[in-house]
Symmetry: C2
Subunit: 209 residues, 2 copies
Amino acid sequence: MINLAEQIGAIPLFEGLPEDQQADLAAIAQVKNLERNEVIFSEGDEGNGFYVVSAGRVKIFKLSPDGKEQILHLFGPGEPFGEVAVFAGVRFPAYAEALDKAAVIFFPRRALLDLIRRNPDLALNLLGLMSMRLRRFTHLIEDLSLKEVPGRLAAHLLFLSGLKNGSDELELDITKTQLASLLGTIPETLSRILAKLVKQGLLKSEGPA
Amino acid sequence: MINLAEQIGAIPLFEGLPEDQQADLAAIAQVKNLERNEVIFSEGDEGNGFYVVSAGRVKIFKLSPDGKEQILHLFGPGEPFGEVAVFAGVRFPAYAEALDKAAVIFFPRRALLDLIRRNPDLALNLLGLMSMRLRRFTHLIEDLSLKEVPGRLAAHLLFLSGLKNGSDELELDITKTQLASLLGTIPETLSRILAKLVKQGLLKSEGPA
DNA sequence: CGGCGGCCTTGACTTGAGTCAAGGCCTGGT
DNA sequence: ACCAGGCCTTGACTCAAGTCAAGGCCGCCG
């Protein structure tokens, strides 16, 4: 918030963007500070812009009629979200909520479209980003439809361990309830499976969180 | 195949592209004719280009270790597929196979990237396309994790009926086995559910296919 | 300091949907 | 014309995972 232009320059998506265009962005960007659990947008809201996480974490999720939630993404600083609504010209297809006290930067739809027209590399960045997300979604779909919960859990833990260069020890920064929602299950089931893995000696677990 | 350039001009993705650029495309495009059930690419293959369906239909799907399949997309003439691998710079994340006797046009990766750099509107088209796919995937994920099979079936039928302006009568052009795979279930289950709906008078069903 | 509300765990029960197996029907090929 | 193979359906069984309920463990706020 102190220096918006600097923050914008640090967003990977806007990397390499000429200074004057970054300045243009800064001029129209709006920062929004959020309390923990504050709603950013709801499914069905008009999507007249997109967001980048500035601080804290944001979860994107779907809700079933009876309240069960499926987490689609967890985003941290520098990661954009809500772009789908901008390009597809539709309403937001999911909910967005701050996981912690957080801040997001909002860019109006039109500004982004203008910028892309002037800057093909930005378009390529965006295409790359969305491709990665599509890829992750195909993974999630595969898991949901073709694997059982223990398999999904294992895949997720291995994925996390992969991020840490294969360390065989890792710390989760989300609650188990959230992990359950990310895996498409419920806390009770997750708890049972973890207990079983520990009993089989395949896993050790420690502490809360 | 008789007139490749003309076909390329008719692809929605390339709509509005200057003639000379369409000609460039035609010069590097390769047409591939396919038998029914012929594999186009497999998960893990190098993704050095993308495809557009020219005739027939193509299914994109994931396979579980024990052979169960989850259909991700069904594409018909004019629809592109395999773009994710081009932009994310990764291997194909799923399998592609011809559903009927079909033909596809292949465009090498580099050509597409060049074209985008010269043509921002093409980039916007692509971004729109991928956004729509992301949106459909969020829907599928929601269905898989938050709804039971009857609900998914109902949603799918309503979706199809929506395409036909809400007609309350519709014809499926895929087998029930394929529909099952699209819904993330198996033919037996689908068959039972349809039978139940018919018995409850919520639905009538007719003929094979 | 005490109590309330999250979060996690465990147990008992229920159920949706998958597996396995068998039979009917239709189609295309020899 | 007939057989083989694919697709669909039905029945009996099994099982993974969800619901419901209860209890323990903090940590925060009044």
